[in-house]
């Protein structure tokens, strides 16, 4: 840094003009879908039939986003509030039965608040009921 380089104004002119001819670095997002890396932590999916009701996930969740309710013997209903969840994946790690799975889906914006509350319940009898989609 000691030698004084020749200081001339507008140093960026060549660099800036080059990018006139290059394709802009913009991704045409909403029109072409953009995918996050496959192990990205996005929306959580709960498989209620694997849940044994040990409530470790409720204890470890830093944002109190997941609540497990008992709706029958050995049947549990999991409710995740996507507005409270911080997508840290701690519940995925501490669940002994691997009942919670994390997907890279990140487009969760909603206009009204309670659409963010997603619940997964295993109706008695049906092995894997489709979670009622938000």
């Amino acid at each position: 840094m000691s030698k004084k380089p020749w200081i001339h104004p507008g140093k960026m002119i060549e660099f800036v003009l080059q990018s006139l001819f290059k394709k802009p670095a913009t991704v045409n997002y909403p029109f072409e879908k953009m995918k996050m890396p496959e192990k990205f932590r996005g929306k959580l999916i709960v498989h209620p039939e694997k849940c044994i009701g040990c409530l470790i996930c409720m204890k470890d969740c830093p944002a109190k986003a997941i609540t497990i309710k008992k709706i029958g013997d050995k049947q549990f209903e999991a409710e995740i509030d996507l507005g409270k969840c911080v997508y840290c994946g701690q519940c995925v790690d501490s669940c002994p039965k691997k009942a919670i799975e994390i997907t890279p889906e990140f487009e969760l914006a909603q206009i009204d608040r309670n659409k963010l509350k997603v619940s997964y319940n295993a109706k008695p009898g049906s092995p894997d009921s489709a979670p009622d989609k938000a």
Binding site: A25, N28, Y29, M34, M36, D81, V86, Y87, A109, Q110
Partner: protein, 145 residues
């Protein structure tokens, strides 16, 4: 006057100027909001411009769980914005307080202080999620005309 209203409505949807306000956030969402302006995402394609004063802005983009000290400034900023104004809560903290729920100095979510039109969860909400949220807000305004 039907045509005039249609044109003004079209113009309102095509040039949503945003004002960014951080109400006590950890500034991850704020950096993602500004990252949405940079070349890779470039929200100027939708006419979005980051404006400096509430007088020029249409959409107030807030992040953060509204600490007690900033609650009044948030209300004052919201009041200073001229009509047809909307509020977008960016990030889990703005939606519900996120990990900071229950702390003594935090009110937990923007909707505790001002009415909110769109919620974008995510910690932080990535620039793509923010664009998706703004687009959903504009689409819902289009239908509700």
């Amino acid at each position: 006057m039907k045509v005039i209203d249609k044109i003004v409505h079209w113009a309102r949807l095509k040039s949503p100027w945003i004002l960014h306000f951080n109400t006590g956030a950890c500034n991850a969402c704020d950096i993602e909001i500004i990252a949405a302006l940079t070349p890779r995402f470039d929200v100027e394609r939708f006419g979005v411009q980051l404006k400096a004063t509430p007088r020029h802005a249409d959409i107030l983009v807030c992040s953060g769980p509204v600490t007690r000290q900033i609650r009044d400034r948030l209300i004052r900023i919201y009041e200073q914005m001229p009509e047809p104004k909307f509020v977008v809560a960016v990030g889990t903290c703005a939606t519900s307080g996120g990990v900071f729920q229950g702390l003594y100095n935090v009110l937990g979510g923007i909707d505790q202080a001002i009415p909110v039109n769109a919620y974008i969860p995510g910690c932080p909400a990535s620039p793509m999620a923010i664009i998706d949220g703004v687009v959903k807000l504009l689409k819902s305004l289009e239908e509700s005309e």
